[in-house]
Symmetry: C2
Subunit: 443 residues, 2 copies
């Protein structure tokens, strides 16, 4: 039974979509309410409509003078020629700080108004302070020496430097859709709407089992022929990084009976997926395969390298996936199958950024398989790091991209374009602008 990558991607997505997480919230998990900043990286459980308009009221875009609509004169007509016609001389009224609710503006009077402050009723436009003469606000208290006067350019078009109420979003309009991943801008928007809490989907919960006689927990001594367990740490971190919660259980031996016992033990919390790595291949000691024979779990071969052997099914009604045991195979399996399925089901994590990149050196790939190599991406080019071997964890740790060689591609030349998925930090590019000096800038 050999499957294509996309067939297995679909199977994993369908497996999770038929599980308890989807049932809990009609496709979106159960919901919980959190204070805004605790909701960073979480997924919105329901649509949010703006309870207020943004901005809530017409306000000034600049520090300047609010001018009455009647005083603007032939503003719109003069707007096209680049230079205002003539000047206005207006009395200066009481200033409008941000946060105040000013009285209506009288024609013939201009009032100092600060950025973000509500424009008084009757305002036609705001003229920035630097276009005023004098180009600074009068002292806030003028004493008895008479009302100050300001000279402003005439011809300002109506509406200039006024931000209209609702110009960002109208009250009642959809602000954020259910399923939106909440980052700083989305949380800022919810705060601007006056919301202190937000309903988010509960996390997807994974029971991660490590198995195998040959693996030793990090921190202890390493016996002959044994290796340290990298997969459990790697997969736990990958799952947490993707927004999932992880319960981690260690099964100490390759005895299928022990594994069956562990799988039969009801977990402390509801589990949405059981995940193992290793023990699903063609060898003589494949603990997961042996423990699950007759369980209905399938062991398809997928046309993927690394990550060809896969296990998929349900155990006691809970979705089950088995990844192969080499660390690079386990990570590639996670990135190719589980991570996209989590995004589709839960709204998190963000999909990997996929980019075209040119190979820095030639490469070959088995034509019958989708090969995923590891590489270092920068500035549109990708250098392969390490060989195709699925044990090359150090090479993986020095990479920032998965490099895709699809089925049918056997040889690629330096300069050929491939698709990469970014999985780590990309070195910063050159600044997007040549840096001008002081002298080059207009004053």
């Amino acid at each position: 039974m050999t499957r294509s990558v996309s067939e297995h991607q679909l199977a994993v997505e369908q497996l999770l979509g038929a599980g308890g997480y989807a049932r809990a919230g009609r496709g979106g998990g159960a919901a919980e309410s959190l204070p805004l900043t605790a909701a960073l990286g979480r997924v919105l459980a329901a649509d949010v409509h703006a309870p207020v308009a943004l901005p809530p009221f017409d306000n000034s875009q600049m520090d300047g003078y609010a001018v009455h609509l009647r005083d603007l004169g032939d503003g719109p007509a003069a707007a096209g020629n680049g230079e205002p016609e003539g000047h206005l001389r207006l009395h200066v009224g009481a200033p409008v700080p941000a946060g105040s609710s000013p009285p209506p503006l009288e024609p013939g009077t201009a009032v100092p108004i600060m950025t973000g402050a509500m424009v008084p009723a009757g305002t036609g436009a705001v003229v920035p302070i630097e276009r005023a003469d004098p180009p600074r606000f009068p002292a806030l208290s003028t004493g008895d020496g008479g009302q100050p006067v300001v000279q402003l350019p005439a011809g300002t078009p109506a509406g200039t430097f006024i931000r209209r109420a609702g110009s960002d979003i109208a009250a009642g309009d959809l602000a954020l859709e259910a399923g939106t991943l909440l980052g700083p801008a989305q949380l800022g928007l919810l705060a601007a709407c006056g919301l202190a809490e937000v309903a988010v989907r509960t996390p997807f919960r994974v029971l991660l089992l490590s198995t195998g006689d040959e693996v030793t927990e990090p921190g202890g001594p390493l016996g002959d022929g044994r290796i340290y367990d990298a997969n459990t740490t790697l997969l736990e971190a990958a799952l947490r990084d993707a927004g999932a919660e992880v319960l981690r259980t260690r099964v100490l031996s390759d005895d299928p009976e022990k594994l069956r016992e562990a799988l039969d033990t009801p977990p402390a919390a509801e589990i949405h997926l059981i995940l193992t790595s290793g023990g699903i291949s063609q060898g003589a000691y494949e603990v997961v395969k042996q423990a699950l024979s007759g369980s209905g779990v399938e062991f398809p071969g997928v046309a993927l390298q690394p990550g060809g052997p896969q296990a998929i099914g349900t155990l006691g009604g809970v979705p089950f996936l088995g990844f192969p045991g080499n660390p690079v195979s386990a990570l590639v399996s996670f990135e190719m199958f589980l991570r996209p399925a989590l995004t589709a089901l839960t709204g998190a994590p963000a999909p990997r950024v996929a980019l075209p990149a040119r190979l820095t050196a030639p490469a070959s790939s088995p034509a019958a398989k989708h090969q995923v190599r590891r590489g270092l991406y920068r500035d549109g080019r990708v250098e392969l790091i390490g060989g195709p071997g699925s044990h090359l964890l150090n090479a993986l740790a020095g990479s920032n991209a998965l490099v895709h060689f699809p089925v049918g591609l056997s040889e690629a030349a330096a300069g050929d374009e491939v698709t990469v998925w970014l999985i780590g930090p990309v070195p910063p590019p050159a600044p997007p602008v040549p840096a001008p000096t002081h002298q080059e800038l207009p004053s």
Copy 2:
């Protein structure tokens, strides 16, 4: 005093680099030791050299038969012609499971060996089980009926399907450099090296002050002329997302005296940066500017839109930055100045991915300024979302990219290439491979 963007970027980087965080760890912050999975997203405090080789011993890359070097015969010579010459008939010895330490291999005997298992001394190569005749392992106990025999292809080159000890990394070699951001692969590598804990840099700690008479905490009623405080939530989330710790203090009024008091109060923990937003512009009620007049804090204008007004200096020896008060200006200031400086100083967060993108529509920009617009990036194209206004938080929340219009650019046409920084999820691209069906795959 007008600065270019790159001048202010450098100034912010230098400010943080001269502060307490840099002094604590000779440029890298103080260190703390954490269990591996608690170190996800943290930054390595010191170089890690591999305490063991990876792999720790020569091991098999396949489930198959370990064959003695002497039995390989003219393997290397035959390797070039694609077909092995003749066959070997070998007795089958005791199998080698992963995790065991096998006795040396005798010439004339092949031993079943599982993926990852230590190859016995004397092994020349591993022949995969599917090339053996019979293509399956004999029953593990053969009783007294005589030693089973297996037929294997001759001509396998020495070293085939053996992963050499240290081929991923040699013991003592540099595994991860100080300053490495720890993701799943890096943590997996540390686990594979047998490390249960890792020394990481302590987080950068920010005191975030919200100010202003006109802003109201989300969750309460909104008075006339007032708006909800979006900036504090937005900046707190942006800082946390970047790996920083945030202490949040609310200053209830626009009274400079109150702000000075707040700034003079020694914080509960060591602070590496004091950050405010708002109150630094040209208006008549600029609380931060008034409170800090005479403090040595500078208020440069930067040739950036939005985000032109900036404040920078030190207060009581602690680095201080003041961002402008519009939410989009605050976020753009964070992304352009503080986030890159945090990456340079602390190793986190990962730099923004910068990409070329083609505009879907024409756009204009003030030639004297570096304009940063918000847009939706997908498949190499970017659509601008909302106008240039710095109050358009809903438009920002619907964007996934900052779009750069550098100094000197005033008009851009649809199809023109600009640089974007990805700040949010990019919709998944089409699958990187056409999906082959079962029938198209080799069996």
